[in-house]
């Protein structure tokens, strides 16, 4: 494929400054079970190519799912015409420095292939998950699903780039709704499809699957009769499966350079961060160390190169609370003159690359979970995101969780249902008072990060330890 695409580029007749083709082939399979009946068994082959052309300082693109030489040549002509027509109105005159030559390959580490678990066997495992979730007659709904993706990407360009990448992905989920009269409670395996990783079928079913299934079922029923989360302002302790969302919404998105440059203001929004803040702003407490790290084995947003060919490296975004670097690829770095990362990414062949998160992780501290809780006189511990909402500047947020525990005098005591909290991003991160050590650290992922015009959903990973925050406003639902 690399040779075919390179030949297509070499045969181009358009007077462009640069031409690139990114072809993608995504083979996926989805199996979903609800209440021990099959809900969905699908397979999907998607392929196509994004042809991108730089002319007169403007990029133009044309994407097609017809992978013949003639169709790709026509797409080059269209992309060139798009670039020329817009070049008098460019937001920035780009140069080929935004697409330097790169060669190499990346393959997701995996031990088993994606054919190692036949659809029939996968269905049987998921049926069993649904069966075992039904720990009580109060269980009103059980769901279990799994998706696999084998995504190959080939990237070539007129200045000699040749990159091949192959992602193996396994994304799994199970959960249940318990109901008693008008009261319902949701409990899931760390959030919808939060168990999303790179790898093969060695990831599922894992050794602890049945223990997790049992716990999710039992906790759903437990929540039905738990106390409602009280209204109080106290110490909030977040588990890694909620830290994932907290990092994503209040660190990842506000640091995206395209938001700060204004590209996203009509859709996802802008950011409270300004370009001049990089290198000087105290983003949060000194316990806060945040990295952009697409090199973590198995984390969902790992890769060798971004979608314009920039080699991926681990970089600190925030070190000891201080903002160092933005989430921006080469185009945003040219426009902003702010240091960025290799994060020009596209959801597939049919969307242009924009600034995205990949793996954004909060580095561990030095306290065990028990030490952290022992340090707290009064607070609430929350697990698993259930609700999320934040303003278009990534400032005022309100998040809700599935499961809470009251902390009293250094101990976890009563279970709480409907735990929610709200705050404002800078105050929140400055209130970070304890960071758990590596034993409290966990990695989760999501395939649903939405952004861009046209819209794109992309996969990201977030690793974090348990963290504690002081003086946070918390509240429950209607009793």
């Amino acid at each position: 494929m690399l040779k075919f695409l390179s030949d297509v580029v070499a045969a181009a007749s358009i007077p462009a400054d640069w031409i690139g083709i990114r072809a993608v082939k995504d083979r996926s399979r989805t199996c979903a079970i609800r209440d021990a009946h099959p809900e969905r068994n699908t397979q999907h082959l998607d392929h196509g190519a994004m042809v991108e052309v730089l002319a007169h300082g403007q990029f133009g693109y044309s994407a097609t799912n017809n992978l013949t030489q003639a169709s790709l040549a026509a797409a080059m002509e269209t992309a060139y015409a798009q670039a020329v027509a817009a070049s008098d109105w460019s937001v920035h005159r780009f140069t080929t420095a935004a697409r330097p030559k790169a060669t190499g390959q990346y393959v997701s580490p995996h031990r088993k292939g994606l054919d190692a678990l036949p659809p029939g066997e996968l269905n049987q495992i998921l049926l069993q998950v649904c069966d075992q979730l039904k720990v009580s007659d109060k269980i009103a709904q059980t769901t279990a699903s799994a998706r696999s993706h084998d995504i190959e990407t080939w990237f070539v360009s007129s200045n000699g780039s040749e990159i091949y990448q192959r992602d193996y992905l396994i994304e799994t989920h199970f959960g249940t709704i318990a109901q008693d009269g008008p009261t319902t409670q949701l409990r899931t395996d760390h959030g919808y499809l939060a168990q999303s990783y790179q790898g093969g079928w060695e990831l599922f079913p894992g050794l602890d699957l049945w223990q997790r299934v049992q716990q999710v079922g039992e906790q759903a029923v437990e929540l039905l009769h738990a106390d409602n989360c009280p209204d109080l302002t106290a110490t909030l302790v977040l588990a890694p499966d909620q830290m994932m969302l907290q990092i994503h919404e209040s660190i990842g998105h506000p640091l995206e350079l395209d938001r700060i440059l204004g590209d996203e203001r009509n859709y996802a929004g802008g950011s409270f961060i300004k370009l001049e803040d990089f290198g000087s702003l105290e983003y949060g407490s000194q316990l806060m160390n945040v990295t952009f790290d697409p090199t973590v084995v198995g984390e969902l947003g790992s890769y060798g190169f971004d979608d314009v060919g920039t080699p991926a490296t681990r970089e600190y975004l925030i070190r000891e609370g201080k903002l160092e670097r933005g989430l921006g690829g080469l185009e945003s770095q040219q426009r902003s003159q702010v240091p960025g990362v290799a994060n020009s990414r596209a959801s597939s062949w049919n969307r242009p690359a924009i600034d995205r998160m990949a793996n954004i992780n909060l580095e561990p501290g030095d306290l065990t979970f028990e030490q952290m809780i022992a340090n707290i006189e009064h607070g609430i511990y929350m697990e698993t995101n259930r609700s999320w909402s934040i303003d278009d500047q990534r400032h005022k947020f309100q998040f809700g969780c599935e499961y809470g525990k009251l902390i009293e005098n250094g101990r976890l005591t009563r279970t709480l249902k409907n735990p929610n909290y709200r705050s404002v991003t800078p105050q929140f991160w400055h209130s970070l008072s304890q960071v758990g050590n590596a034993s409290t650290w966990d990695v989760y992922g999501t395939p649903f990060c939405g952004k861009g015009e046209p819209n794109q959903l992309i996969r990201v990973g977030h690793g974090a330890p348990v963290c504690a925050f002081e003086t946070i406003e918390m509240f429950g639902g209607a009793v």
Binding site: T42, G48, W89, G120, P182
Partner: protein, 448 residues
């Protein structure tokens, strides 16, 4: 070849492929075949300049095989050439035939039946690709204009083993934009249609510029609390989206996953609130993924009472209730909230003292079983005193139950409706939209 000619070929190729599938399956097998595709132009703007511009040609065939009470499906690319598309689908079909015996029995399997056919072609006239920047940008020079122009052809096809056939195509555009001032305050404009009308564009920009001048006044900081609030149609459309996310679908109601379980248990909303599905004016196929054609109108909430959930034929089998040919996901496809009696000139006097909200942003359930929603105000939102706009507001977080907003807190609805086009472009360009009035609500709750 012109795009309209290409589409005629695509329609023929789709029919040819459906016939080919039918010819290779034996009598014990059933199938549905759907097609979704587009030829789209996307031009993205920032600061009245072009940020990104390009085209996307995409198409997907989805074949669902049903045999011996089991089912599985496969999706493959569609380019509109039988010699390219049929071999891919045929390979997928062979895989499906291998997989289907491995799967558990699906007791709620919906087999294709009936003889429905339809063909809808909505033609339009769009800006030429090389005229987009040169047409849209000169009128907004000097303004901080940002947003996206999306346009082109969208097509959908359906065929099945019972002989049902449907075709839908629509040529359309949407322009979704914001204007910002130097203090980063903004107003929103969205319009969509099938014929590009220069005067309509200029009118929209003029209206947005006027709203932006109102935003230039010093902003008022609003303390958290409850305020009488006017929600303009675009804001109401955001709340209406929640009715399709764990809302009025039968499966969600049955499985404890609905915000409207309380309605089914006898609670009601305001007698002024009526919600229906209305395909009369919707730029949207009426057929679903089973080839069934929805009724032109279906009342869902009538004078505050839940009179119909959205029931797919799959849910109908599972819960033994009649199907109303909802989509498989049982979401609203052509929702309309019926108007009230509040005239445009009475909005501010009737609001008197409170908040005028043009748009809402980033809504999510904060207490799903009780219908409570949180989200943010966005764009042109104002404080109103003595029936007059006095100041823009800083963005506020709200947290309010739909049972209050459309129930005991509902004062009135406007006597006019706006059509809010679905301009989503996740995976593919959206179709249709909602038809909604503005809503005046007492004691709407703001929390941050």
């Amino acid at each position: 070849m012109a795009i309209s000619d290409e589409l005629r070929v695509a329609e023929q190729v789709f029919a040819q492929i459906a016939d080919a599938v039918a010819s290779v399956l034996d009598m014990s097998a059933h199938f549905t075949l759907t097609l979704s595709g587009e030829d789209s132009q996307f031009t993205r703007f920032n600061r009245a300049r072009v940020r990104q511009t390009g085209t996307v040609s995409d198409g997907t065939l989805t074949l669902t095989l049903m045999q011996n009470e089991r089912t599985t499906s496969a999706a493959v690319p569609f380019v509109g050439e039988f010699e390219t598309d049929w071999p891919l689908l045929k390979t997928a079909l062979v895989e499906l035939q291998t997989v289907v015996p491995q799967l558990p029995i699906d007791p709620f399997l919906v087999l294709p039946e009936g003889s429905a056919t339809s063909r809808t072609v909505n033609r339009g006239e769009l800006l030429a690709a090389d005229a987009i920047a040169a047409t849209l940008l000169p009128p907004v020079q000097g303004l901080d204009f940002t947003g996206i122009y999306a346009a082109g052809l969208i097509f959908r096809g359906y065929a099945d083993s019972a002989g049902q056939r449907h075709w839908f195509e629509s040529t359309s555009y949407s322009l979704d934009f914001s204007l910002f001032d130097a203090q980063n305050r903004a107003v929103k404009g969205t319009f969509a249609g099938s014929q590009w009308q220069p005067s309509r564009f200029v009118d929209k920009i003029t209206q947005a510029k006027h709203q932006l001048t109102l935003m230039a006044r010093p902003a008022k900081t609003i303390e958290r609390g409850q305020y009488r609030t006017y929600l303009a149609p675009a804001a109401v459309a955001e709340l209406l989206h929640m009715f399709s996310w764990g809302g009025v679908g039968e499966a969600d109601l049955q499985q404890g996953n609905s915000a409207f379980g309380l309605l089914r248990q006898g609670q009601s909303l305001s007698a002024q609130f009526t919600l229906q599905e209305n395909f009369e004016r919707a730029n949207m196929p009426r057929f679903n993924s089973y080839g069934e054609v929805a009724p032109l109108q279906l009342p869902v909430i009538q004078q505050g009472r839940l009179v119909n959930s959205l029931v797919s034929s799959r849910s109908a089998k599972e819960y033994k209730v009649p199907s109303n040919y909802a989509s498989r996901g049982e979401y609203l496809r052509a929702p309309e909230i019926m108007p009230g009696s509040l005239t445009a000139d009475q909005i501010l006097p009737q609001l008197d003292r409170g908040l005028y909200l043009s748009n809402l942003h980033y809504l999510n359930w904060s207490d799903h079983p009780n219908g409570r929603v949180t989200g943010m105000t966005r764009y042109a939102c104002f404080w109103v005193e003595n029936g007059e706009v006095t100041a823009p507001i800083e963005n506020l977080r709200f947290d309010e139950s739909l049972y209050h907003c459309f129930g005991d807190g509902l004062v009135n609805l406007t006597n006019f409706q706006d059509t809010i086009a679905d301009i989503d472009t996740y995976d593919r360009r959206g179709l249709g939209g909602s038809c909604v009035p503005g809503v005046l609500v007492d004691d709407f709750t703001y929390t941050l």
